[in-house]
């Protein structure tokens, strides 16, 4: 069976068991069951102490559930889990172990026992020590976080594959706020069995996913990782953030190569070798994810900046250099055209500075004049001046539609800014809180995804 088909019953299970489900809304077993009440598929609470939980019939053990279970979520103390898992033999395909208390706290032997129990029972494992899966289209939500604490983002085209639960929560919050939605979200904790590469292969074939954001601390078998990452990056946009950059290395080695083996530098080089996009930090990861989820990658490197603030334009220009974007001068024809319609104090060069006396429609005029000569556009609008109105959203939306070229925006800060940001992101135009970040967002869209390959 292909990975795609096999993991389909993990991400879209027809039947879900919650081992350790309880009525109590304050306990993990209660929160997880509450969050799963809407799941598309049968739901079975498992707890020998109850006959019924939240209006659902409860089962004393996984074995008593009629029929097969695609996904069993286990929320019981770590020491009990291997034995519980053995009861899953012939019954469940996947077990998602929420419980902590394994290798992450030095209990390596218990984790080994768990892996052995899984293998012997023919059950594939997610976790342990994880939040698991969120798939809004299937209303599958295994996260033990009440909705009051974490608002879930809606359906979208961004998948998250995160080793850390904490970072996954942050990513969900950022994505929810940015107006993007998610396709499949996967947190795999200790990676005792199912690891990032297997999920990459699944996502490569997943029609709902076009961007994959992945946070990694360890990578396990590096060749397997690179193989899957390449296959995924061939079909979708994959952005990786690697933490633990100071770890690894062998002090005892006699050569520079030997001393650096196992360190981040090796990972970094190899990602570049295979053209896999790497974010240097959390903000860059999110900025890139937003740009890629809204717009598609384009060739070319020529960028035009249109601003109503000189300083912001200069900062944006500086950032262009770092990413190999070319701020080529305006063609003579465009300059003449703009000079004839704009006041003499507008700066008709690249960046085009419409100054504090800008009127919203000037953006339309400027964009039209340069449209055919550039590959992408960064638009900066400081809303502190009277001339900038929410009408800018429509102008940029129309421009996107007629040009088909990528546009990234920096809006600062007061007045109509929040409304304008909302309108723009609804129109799938990414908005950033600084000129540099807008350029970085553009850099992942232009010229081979911002990678400076030669």
């Amino acid at each position: 069976m292909t990975t795609k088909k096999y993991l389909e019953s993990l991400f879209c299970p027809g039947s879900v068991a919650v081992v350790g489900a309880t009525e109590s809304p304050g306990k993990l077993g209660g929160i997880v069951l509450t969050n799963l009440l809407g799941v598309k598929g049968r739901l079975y609470p498992v707890n020998p102490a109850y006959r019924e939980v939240m209006g659902l019939r409860a089962y004393a053990s996984i074995r008593e559930i009629p029929g097969a279970v695609d996904l069993s979520i286990i929320i019981r103390p770590a020491a009990e889990v291997p034995e519980l898992l053995r009861q899953h033999a012939g019954k469940a395909r996947f077990a998602l172990i929420v419980s902590a208390g394994f290798a992450e706290v030095g209990e390596a032997a218990l984790q080994e026992e768990l892996v052995k129990a899984g293998r012997e029972s023919g059950v594939r494992l997610v976790g342990p020590n994880c939040l698991g899966i969120y798939n809004p289209r299937h209303r599958l939500d295994t996260m033990f976080l009440p909705h009051a604490c974490l608002k879930r983002p809606g359906k979208g085209n961004v998948a998250i594959v995160s080793q850390s639960g904490a970072i996954m929560i942050c990513l969900l919050e950022t994505i929810g706020r940015s107006g993007t939605g998610v396709s499949k979200v996967f947190n795999y904790g200790n990676a005792a069995d199912i690891d990032a590469p297997e999920v990459y292969d699944y996502l490569a074939e997943d029609a709902e996913t076009s961007v994959v954001v992945s946070y990694l601390e360890s990578i396990g078998d590096g060749r397997k990782f690179i193989g899957a990452a390449r296959r995924l990056a061939d079909k979708k946009r994959l952005i990786v953030l690697r933490a633990g950059k100071g770890a690894g290395g062998q002090a005892a080695a006699f050569s520079h190569t030997g001393r650096l083996a196992g360190r981040y530098e090796v990972f970094h080089s190899i990602l570049r070798e295979y053209g896999i996009m790497e974010a240097p930090d959390y903000d860059s990861l999110m900025d890139a994810a937003k740009a890629l989820s809204f717009q598609s990658i384009s060739t070319g490197k020529r960028l035009c900046i249109i601003t109503n603030g000189g300083g912001s334009g200069v900062l944006a220009s500086d950032e262009c250099m770092k990413h190999g974007l070319e701020l080529v001068p305006l063609p003579e024809k465009s300059s003449c055209e703009l000079r004839s319609v704009f006041p003499p104090f507008y700066a008709i060069k690249n960046p085009i500075d419409l100054t504090g006396q800008v009127r919203t429609d000037d953006y339309r005029v400027a964009l039209r004049a340069v449209r055919d000569h550039y590959d992408g556009f960064v638009v900066i609008a400081l809303t502190g001046v009277a001339g900038v109105t929410v009408g800018l959203a429509d102008i940029l939306k129309e421009f996107r539609a007629e040009s088909g070229k990528p546009v990234a925006v920096h809006i600062a800060q007061g007045g109509i800014a929040p409304r304008l940001c909302g309108l723009l992101e609804k129109a799938k135009i990414p908005v950033y809180p600084s000129p540099e970040r807008a350029v970085r967002g553009m850099a992942v869209l232009l010229g081979n995804g911002g990678q400076k390959h030669e």
């Binding site: 360890s218 990578i219 396990g220 078998d221 590096g222 060749r223 990782f225 690179i226 690894g248 080695a253 006699f254 050569s255 520079h256 190569t257 030997g258 650096l260 083996a261 196992g262 530098e265 090796v266 990972f267 080089s269 190899i270 570049r272 070798e273 030669e454």
Partner: protein, 224 residues
């Protein structure tokens, strides 16, 4: 003969311990197509072999020992040897060094641009190959890059271009371009050797680049 067979044959002929003698490593690298200076090994207690007379002065003499981690720290390198008398004196002096097992007399290579080529086994990725600027630059600028081994010549050129030093290799300010293809060949050889699984570490440091060749000046290879 494939590379694994060549390595097996080579390993059966080496005389030292885990750390292969420099002259044996260089001889093997030469057979594989890497450039290395012409040299003669003088075992401890032996007179100067007649082959020494075929070397062109000036020479360099280096102590050989599988127990010394740094030849230069032990005072084990004598440069600018201009005739036979000086060579005899240098060899006699170097044999006095503790754990000396012999001396390698080599034709001296004029100064050139120094780079490092290395191979190692990474915990995550297995065999990897490294390239970077050598000499003092490796410490200060850390201008290095890695790739999964083995690499072909095209990938080796990519690796070279990953470093900032690529500009120097292309020739800056009227300096001639250096022999990047010979360097790529050496990177390819190291990447193949580390991939065989017989070695733990390979350190060619430095490899000296000239407009028409690349020469392995020092080679440390550790058997796994």
């Amino acid at each position: 003969m494939d590379i694994r067979q060549k390595v097996r044959q080579f390993l059966s002929s080496t005389s030292g311990g885990k750390l292969i003698f420099e002259h044996e490593s260089k001889q093997f690298l030469r057979e594989l197509g890497a450039g290395a200076p012409k040299g003669v090994f003088v075992p401890r207690g032996d007179p100067l072999p007649s082959a020494v007379d075929e070397l062109r002065y000036p020479l360099v003499a280096k102590v050989a020992s599988s127990r010394l981690s740094s030849k230069s720290d032990a005072g084990g390198i004598k440069l600018n040897i201009s005739n036979r008398e000086e060579l005899l004196r240098a060899v006699a002096g170097l044999m006095q060094i503790e754990h000396a097992e012999g001396v390698l007399a080599e034709e001296m290579v004029p100064p050139g641009f120094e780079v490092i080529v290395g191979g190692a086994l990474d915990a995550d990725f297995g065999p990897i190959v490294m390239y970077g600027l050598g000499g003092i630059f490796v410490e200060v600028f850390q201008d290095i890059s890695f790739a999964l081994a083995p690499v072909d010549e095209k990938q080796a050129l990519w690796l070279i271009n990953e470093t900032k030093g690529k500009q120097i290799l292309r020739g800056v300010r009227g300096r001639p371009p250096l022999d990047v293809n010979a360097l790529a060949r050496i990177i390819g050889i190291v990447s193949q050797l580390i991939t065989t699984g017989f070695f733990e570490e390979i350190d060619l440091n430095p490899v000296v680049l000239f407009p028409d060749k690349a020469v392995v000046l020092d080679a440390k290879i550790k058997i796994r």
